[in-house]
Symmetry: C2
Subunit: 257 residues, 2 copies
């Protein structure tokens, strides 16, 4: 966070004061020595972010695919060396010509989706637990309280919050959480994903890669996010506010009595 | 918007009901017959979105560069024909190798920014007017009230809201508003931009292309957004809530007594 001199205007008048704003940096990922792309993000958890991004993008399948990640925090470069050298040129090509990629998602394609198997999990969670986890999730976000300018994402085992990440972008926060799970060797098929952000089809796509059966959001989903969640047999819960929540898909995993 | 069957859980129990969610479509832009990219967006104002996106991306300089835009709403393709054929291959190349591009912004580069002139405008606005415009802006958002899942962007002449656009993405909403201004031949150097969304450096970059001197947000900016706004002599106001607001840069354009 940075402190800045600002002018605050309210009904009592105009005054000079200081305000906290979120930091934003351009992180360039170099894969096996070649520049892959630049992402604007918050300057923390950059190793996790790099790993999570590469995982979400389908470039790595597990943390074992990564040799080293070195962060140059002068130039904001993440140097990633894979154990088996990848054909960066080919990835670039794919990135360029892939149809169906959105602004937030490069590398994805439709075939990728068709090959995806449905979530096959009999994990369940009580709705009271969702209420409780979301309250704890929101209390964790000190940066949001101070700056109002970040999204957060957490992973929970249904009891506790195991991983909590923040970023100026909701895609980035999810990638950081996924990356942290990779480093900690957590089995995401047993974890619940909590997000502060709106849920688009891109977010669902990213979640489905992790095989996590639960996506719980404080905000709204789009129609395509709901459709895709249904197709993938994912439990999608939105608008969790106090004791209220909307269960869009996969209601059989939610206990309520 | 789509109506969906959902389960709503609250303190009174669990019930089946219907809920409205925002629609999301993948719009593929074809430029002079060649596929440029696919953007996920809300399915309205697609001509404006196409024009605004191409303008923000620096591919067109004015609406006069566009020959025709035809929207295929079966396949969600926007067929754009320019008056002077562009080298799409070259654009692709630029898109691929441009450093400094973030997830939300393709095509931009740093040189582009260095060549940008500072905003040179002596327009002023009273803080009471900002409060008033923001209230009217928020009341305009019927979709947000119903779905909670969209961002909005408006253009105002300081008195009225002239253009109001919504989208599932805050970048898209801005591009739609810019596109609408291009079609209406409005001089954006005299307009105020209002946004519901957080302000990153990418948003400021997009605004600076329009030469509009005012960017007013309900939400928070990042440190880089504030820095860039300062460098560009743009007036950046954030957290406009009721009569309160934070003026980050360009305070000389805000009247308050």
């Amino acid at each position: 966070m940075s402190r800045l001199d600002i002018i605050r205007i309210d009904s009592s008048g105009r005054k000079n004061c200081q305000d906290e704003v979120s930091d934003e940096i351009p992180l360039t990922i170099h894969l096996d020595g070649k520049e892959l792309l630049t992402l604007l993000c918050s300057p923390d958890s950059l190793k996790e972010f790099s790993a999570g991004f590469l995982y979400s993008a389908g470039i790595i399948k597990s943390i074992n695919d990564i040799g080293t990640i070195t962060i140059d925090s002068q130039k904001w470069i993440s140097h990633v060396e894979l154990k088996n050298k990848t054909d960066t040129q080919k990835l670039m090509f794919k990135r360029m010509y892939t149809s169906g990629c959105g602004r937030g998602v490069l590398f994805y394609n439709t075939l990728d989706l068709l090959h995806r198997r449905k979530v096959n999990s009999n994990l369940k969670i009580h709705s009271d637990k969702i209420t409780e986890l979301m309250a704890s999730f929101q209390n964790s976000s000190a940066a949001f309280k101070q700056t109002g300018g970040v999204h957060s994402c957490a992973l929970s085992d249904g009891e506790d919050i195991l991983i909590f990440k923040e970023d100026i972008g909701r895609h980035n926060a999810l990638d950081k959480a996924i990356g942290a799970a990779l480093f900690k060797d957590l089995d995401m098929r047993k974890l619940i994903i909590l997000t502060s952000g709106r849920v688009s089809s891109e977010i669902v796509l990213k979640v489905s890669k992790t095989r996590s059966p639960f996506l719980i959001s404080r905000s709204a989903p789009t129609d395509q996010a709901v459709k895709l969640s249904g197709d993938l047999n994912l439990t999608l819960v939105g608008f969790v506010r106090g004791e209220r929540m909307n269960v869009y898909t996969g209601q059989e995993r939610i206990i309520h009595e």
